[in-house]
Amino acid sequence: MLDVRGLRKVYEGSGRRVEAVRDLTFTVDPGDLVCLVGPSGCGKTTLLKCMAGLLEPTGGEVLLEGRRVDGPPPGTAFVFQEYGRSLFPWMRVGENVELPLRQKDMSKAERRALVRDALESVGLADAAGAYPWQLSGGMQQRVAIARALAYEPRVLLMDEPFAAVDAQTRADLEDLVRGLWRQRGITILFVTHDIDEAVYLGERVIVLSASPTVVREQLTVDLPAERDQLHTRVDPRFAGLRTRVYEQIQAAKRGEVRDALTKSSTPPPR
């Protein structure tokens, strides 16, 4: 589905040269929910924007369904961290969700149906007439998710979408994303700096090193598909995975180099 091959991104500007991403290779299978987690400032957003076609990689390539990404591909939707700045404040919620659909070749009735369906699935069916700034932060991010869903993407890229909402809202939104993933079978790539979130949400967790970024480890999350905030988080298996990821990130921060294990997909021993 998604292939990242030898991705490298170097920022150059005002005499400084920053290598944000050094060499990233991994794949995401169709219908997978992969969480990318890494120490802060490790180039997660850079990676995701390269995958969305919003940034041009310096080296390597991103393939979506076998085709090289060199601009925002139509089958991909992006959910930004800054919900307050990704929705257009001059449009009502319904118009915001509908806007990307106007680029597609579909009738007004079809658009309306998609908008209604998307808003219903994030629990905001009656907010279509409100302006985004009349809603709370969590609700605004729900609108952004609805906008992405209405676009009917095959791949959904989410860039720390819940970093700026409070803890309770965050838990609700996590369950929402997992629920939508199970219902709709979209491939989701979810970037976060929150280890618990990564383990709770993901079917797979990719741990990134500190910048310049490489893949440090890939973990399969062998928790049951049915997860809930109350029981999953106290599951000993959850704690085990969490500890594992935590250790990796701490090691990444210290800058330790990992051995040949790096790119294997090994769940830790029970």
Binding site: L54, A77, R85, M91, P100, R147
Partner: protein, 259 residues
Amino acid sequence: MRRVLLRVVLACALPAVLVTVWWVASAGSTDVYWPPLRTILTAFPDVWTADRLRGDVLPSVWRLAAGYALAAVAGVALGTLIGSHRRVRAVCEPVLEFLRAVPPPVLVPVIMLFAGIGDTMKVAVIASGCVWPVLLNTVEGVRAVDPVMAEAARSYGITGTARLRSLVLPSASPQIFTGLRQALSIGIILMVISEMFAASNGLGFTIVQFQRGFAIPDMWTGILLLGMLGVVLSVLFRLAERRVLGWYHGLRASARRSP
């Protein structure tokens, strides 16, 4: 209801005081150039008859509307072009700064050479003065489009005219309106000035005629009428702004409530 009443009272208080002061201070005046306000107000209905409103005020307002509309369209179009392309901006900016610094009334004799002394000249003068604040504010507004919103638009394939219509122009609209508001007062000034040079009708022309004919109270009524025209236009502008920028005021208010 009471709050509306209070606002009306507050808005009218200072004008009422000023008019009263003028009335009282000028009541016994025998100075030809400063006639009592009472004389001016008595003259008003005699001077501004329906005929004169049609013959002088209407042409003035029409020229103002035409020049202003021309400036608004040209200013927004050029401003959007200059604001969206860094190269174009680099080329245009020094020239714009120069042109903006030229006081528009100076252009009247120059424009007269090209456009004659008819309506075209006056509309051109008004447009050439009004265009700068609109243009420069549009450039700033278009440049300040939020990078996250721009990226969101790009990731959803919103490009070209759709991008212009749904992202760039609405995002720049608060700044564009600031420019339009400045342009409106410049437009009124230029409307009067352009009619003082070479004209056979219009508000500015009439006021100058009265002054030259020593019809001083009549001249004062013209000035009052000009002031009232300005007030009416600014109220209309405010109404239009509130309609178009309703989202912006709401957004600002909600940002103030939760910083």
